[in-house]
Amino acid sequence: MSTTFDLVEFELSGERYALDIYLAREIVEMMPITPIPRAPSYISGIMNLRGEITSIISLNYLLSLPPDDDLENRKIIVLTTETAGGSNVGIIVDDVHSVIQVSEDDVEHVGEGISSDVSNFVKGIIKVGCDDAEKKQGLVIWIDMLHLLKDLENRAS
C-alpha cells in the first residue's frame, strides 16, 4: 500500500489544482480586498478577516495565468498562519471542489520529462479518476504552497 495524501482541489482558469489540506485553514467567500500601493504584482491586496489583516496572493500572476478580472463568486482559501511564517495569507481561486485523496503512484513528478516555467512551485501532477469510471478523469496540478510562500518572502525582503 503506497502513501496517500489529502489534498484540497480547486479551480483556476479552467485548470484543476490542489494543495495539501493541512496547509488550509478555511475557505471563505469573496470579500472586499483593499489594494496596497506599490505592493508587488502578485499581491492582490489585503482584507479584514474577522479582525485579522490577511494578505491576499494572486495565484494567477504567479502561475502565469490570465489576470483575475471578475472577482465575483470566487473564493479565498485562507492558509494556516504556520504556512506563511506567522502571517495570515489567503489565495484567490475560482472555485473549490472537494477534498481528494491521492496515492503516491498517481503522482507524476515535474522534471521527469515535463518542464514548465512554474515547475518550481509544482510538487507534481496527479492523474485522477483513471481507475474509477464514475469520477471525472483528468489531471490535477499539485501546488507546493510552502515552497511558493518561502520564495515570495525571499523576493519581498
Binding site: 483593499t34 500601493p37 508587488p40 479582525g51 489583516i53 506563511a84 502571517s87 518572502e153 519581498a156
Partner: protein
C-alpha cells in the same frame, strides 16, 4: 534547568544595574571627590561581588574583590582619585560587562581573563596600604571588639525567590564574621525542604560594627533588618536628622517587641517604596499590548454595529465599555513608556572615552532625561544617538589648541537635550565646534559623482547637508576606530525614519552644529487623518500633517515635470502620488504635510476625519512597500493602508 536559568537572568539583570551604577558614579568621582558617589560605588561593587560569588562566577568575584579593595581605599581617603586609577577602574568595569554578556549567553565567564587587571588593582591597593598602614590600624582600633548581634531579617513579600535572597544575606554576613545560628538554617534554605516564610533570625558575631553588618544584610529585596537586644548608639545618626525624625514619630509606640533604631526605620521606609515596582517580562507587556489593540479595533466595530440598531441601553453600556477600553489603552501606553535616561546614562562614558582618545576637552550636558518614550521607539534609538554623539566629539569639536586659536574656550560643549513638543519627542544634540564646511562636503560629493561640478554652486545649504546622509559619505580626512568608517549618518537617518521620526541638521561654520531628531512618543497607536485619494482610503499620521487647505486650482504652476502651488504666500510642491493611487484629476483639497522637513501638498478627494487607530506592520509576504507605513483597521471594519510620509515619493 529552568530554575537555574531564572537565577541567572535575575543575576544578570541586577548585576547590570549595579554595574551601571558603578560606572556612573566613577565618572562623578572623576570630577572631584564625592562621598555619596563613593558610597554608592561601594554598595554596588559589594553587591556585585557577593552575587557573583554565590552564583559561582569566581573570575568575576575575584575582579570585583580587587576593585572593592581600591574603592575602600578611596573611601577612607587613603588614596587620591587620579586619572590613571579611574582608567584602570573603568577598564575593570568593561571586563565585568564582558563577563555579564558571557553569563547572559550561558557561559560562566571563566574564559574572560582579568588577571592583569587584578594585578594592576592590587598594585594600587598594596602601594597605598603600605603608606597608610598606620592610619588604617588606628582607624581599625576604633572599631569595637567582636560584638554579637541578633538580627531579624525580613525578605520582601513580593520577592519571587525568598530563599535565595536569604542565602545571599547569610553569605554576605559570613564574609564579615561568624554566624552562630540561624533559623531557618543555611542547609534548610539550600535544600528548600522547609518552606521559607520570608523571616529569618540570625545570631552573628563580628567585629565589623553595626553599620557594616547592616549594609551586608540589607541586600536587594530585603524588606528590613532589625537588630534585637543590642542597642548601640550610632554616631552617624545625626547625619539624617530630618528623615529619622519624621519616621520616628510614626514608629514610636507602633514598633513591636524588638528595639529598632531610627536609622533602620528610614531605610525600611525606602525599601517599602521599592516594593511598589515590579519586574515584568517585556514580552508579556507586548502580548498585553496586542490584546488591547484588538480590543480597540473590535470596540470600534461594535460601536458601528450599535449605531445601526439604535438601542439606547446598548449605546449607553457601549460607551461605558469604550471609556474603560480607552483608559486601559492609555494606561498600557504609559506602562510602556520609559524615561530617556535609560539610554542617556551610557553617554557620559562614551563622550569621555572619545574625548580622551582624541585629546579633546568636552563639557557634556544632558537635559530632559526624564522625557518618556515608548519602549519600541527607545530600542531603536540607542545606536543612532550613540553615533551622533561620537560624531559630535570626533568631527564636530576641535582640539583645545584649535579652539583657543579661534577665540573659543578650550573646553568644547556638547549638549544633549530632550523635550516634548506637539505630541512628539524632540531630541537635540548640539555642539559649539567647527560646524560643517559646505565646500568640504561639495568637494566630496563631486568626487563621488553625486553632483556635477557646474551644478554644485546652485545647491541650497540644506541640499548640501543632505549629502551627509548618503550611504558611505564621510568627510573625515582620517579614519579612526571611533567614527569615519563610512557607515554613518545614512544608517542613522534610516533608523530614525523606520521609527517614524525625522532628522534635521543646522550648522554654522565656526559656531557649531545641531542635530534635531523628531520622534513619535509611541508607535503602535497613532492619531491619523482618514482621507480618500482617487476613491481609495488612506490614513495619514497626524504628526506629519500641518494643515488641510482648500486651494485655488489656478494657483498651480508647472515647474518642469513637478507642480507647485501658491498657498497663502508660500510656494509648496505638490505630490500627486499617482504611482501609489493612480492617475486622477487634481482636486481642490490639499493636505499639507511635512516631507523631509519641508512642507508640501497632497491633493485628496475628501478628508473623512481624524481617529485613533492601531497600526499593524505590513506582512512579510508583501514585504516593504515604499510609502506604506503599515495597515490599520478602523472601526468600520475596512482595511486601510497608512501613508508613510517620509518615503511616499
Amino acid at each position: 534547568m529552568s530554575d537555574d536559568d531564572g537565577y541567572r537572568k535575575l543575576f544578570v539583570a541586577e548585576s547590570r544595574e549595579n554595574h551601571e551604577n558603578v560606572v556612573r558614579n566613577l565618572l562623578v568621582l572623576e570630577e572631584g571627590s564625592d562621598d555619596e558617589a563613593i558610597a554608592e560605588i561601594f554598595r554596588s561593587a559589594h553587591t556585585l561581588k557577593g552575587m557573583s560569588a554565590s552564583m559561582g562566577f569566581h573570575e568575576m568575584e575575584h575582579l570585583c574583590h580587587s576593585m572593592e579593595d581600591v574603592f575602600d581605599l578611596i573611601r577612607n581617603g587613603h588614596t587620591a582619585v587620579e586619572q590613571d586609577l579611574i582608567d584602570v577602574l573603568l577598564a575593570g568595569t568593561d571586563v565585568i560587562e564582558e563577563m555579564l554578556d558571557d553569563i547572559e549567553g550561558g557561559g560562566d565567564c571563566s574564559s574572560i581573563s582579568s588577571s592583569h587587571l587584578v594585578a594592576d588593582l592590587e598594585k594600587y591597593a598594596s602601594e597605598t596600604t603600605e603608606e597608610s598602614a598606620e592610619v588604617s590600624d588606628a582607624s581599625e582600633s576604633c572599631e569595637s571588639a567582636p560584638d554579637s548581634f541578633k538580627l531579624t531579617i525580613t525578605v520582601d513579600k513580593t520577592c519571587a525567590m525568598k530563599d535565595i535572597r536569604a542565602l545571599l544575606v547569610l553569605q554576605n554576613l559570613e564574609s564579615l564574621g561568624t554566624i552562630v545560628s540561624s533559623t531557618p538554617t543555611k542547609e534548610d534554605l539550600e535544600d528548600g525542604t522547609v518552606p521559607f516564610s520570608g523571616e529569618m533570625e540570625v545570631e552573628f558575631v563580628s567585629d565589623a560594627g553595626m553599620d557594616a553588618v547592616r549594609s551586608a544584610a540589607l541586600g536587594t529585596e530585603i524588606a528590613s533588618v532589625c537588630f534585637a537586644g543590642e542597642v548601640q548608639p550610632e554616631p552617624d545618626e545625626p547625619d539624617t536628622p530630618a528623615e529619622s525624625d519624621t519616621v520616628s514619630v510614626k514608629s514610636s509606640g507602633l514598633s513591636p517587641a524588638a528595639t529598632v533604631t531610627k536609622v533602620e526605620r528610614t531605610e525600611k521606609s525606602e525599601k517599602v517604596r521599592e516594593v511598589k515596582n515590579l519586574r515584568v517580562d517585556i514580552t508579556r507587556l507586548d502580548q498585553m499590548m496586542n490584546l488591547v489593540e484588538d480590543l480597540v479595533i473590535n470596540g470600534g466595530r461594535l460601536k458601528q454595529i450599535a449605531g445601526m440598531y439604535k438601542i439606547k441601553e446598548m449605546d449607553e453600556s457601549l460607551s461605558m465599555v469604550s471609556r474603560s477600553v480607552s483608559d486601559l489603552q492609555n494606561l498600557m501606553m504609559n506602562i510602556r513608556m520609559i524615561p530617556l535616561n535609560q539610554i542617556f546614562n551610557r553617554f557620559p562614558r562614551v563622550v569621555r572615552d572619545v574625548a580622551h582618545h582624541d585629546g579633546k576637552e568636552v563639557e557634556f550636558t544632558m537635559l530632559g532625561g526624564d522625557t518618556e518614550l515608548d519602549r519600541s521607539v527607545m530600542d531603536g534609538l540607542s545606536d543612532p544617538l550613540l553615533h551622533l554623539i561620537r560624531n559630535g566629539v570626533n568631527h564636530g569639536l576641535e582640539t583645545p589648541d584649535e579652539r583657543e586659536a579661534s577665540g573659543k574656550p578650550r573646553k568644547g560643549t556638547l549638549t544633549l537635550s530632550a523635550w516634548r513638543e506637539q505630541g512628539n519627542v524632540i531630541i537635540e544634540l548640539s555642539e559649539d565646534g567647527k560646524g560643517i564646511n559646505r565646500n568640504q562636503i561639495l568637494k566630496k560629493a563631486i568626487e563621488r559623482g553625486l553632483v556635477q561640478e557646474e551644478g554644485a554652486a546652485t545647491l541650497t545649504d540644506q541640499e548640501v547637508i543632505d549629502f551627509l546622509f548618503q550611504p558611505g559619505f564621510s568627510t573625515a580626512e582620517e579614519i579612526t576606530d571611533i567614527s569615519g568608517r563610512g557607515v554613518g549618518l545614512d544608517v542613522v537617518k534610516s533608523t530614525i525614519e523606520s521609527l517614524n521620526g525625522s532628522i534635521k541638521v543646522q550648522t554654522e561654520l565656526g559656531k557649531g552644529s545641531r542635530f534635531t531628531l523628531t520622534l513619535p512618543p509611541t508607535m503602535a497607536i497613532v492619531d491619523v487623518m482618514m482621507v480618500r485619494i482617487n476613491d481609495r482610503r488612506c490614513a495619514i499620521p497626524i504628526n506629519g500633517v500641518v494643515e488641510v487647505a482648500k486651494a485655488n486650482l489656478d494657483n498651480i504652476h508647472k515647474v518642469g515635470t513637478s507642480e507647485v502651488i501658491m498657498l497663502r504666500d508660500e510656494v509648496l510642491q505638490i505630490f500627486r502620488l499617482n504611482e501609489m493611487f493612480g492617475e486622477r484629476p487634481v482636486s481642490e483639497i490639499m493636505v499639507v504635510v511635512l516631507y523631509k522637513g519641508n512642507k508640501c501638498c497632497i491633493p485628496v478627494d475628501v478628508v473623512e476625519g481624524q481617529q485613533e487607530v492601531v497600526v499593524k506592520p505590513v506582512s512579510s509576504v508583501i514585504g516593504n512597500c515604499r510609502g506604506v507605513g503599515g495597515i490599520t483597521i478602523p472601526g468600520d471594519g475596512a482595511v486601510v493602508p497608512v501613508l508613510d510620509v517620509n518615503t511616499m515619493v
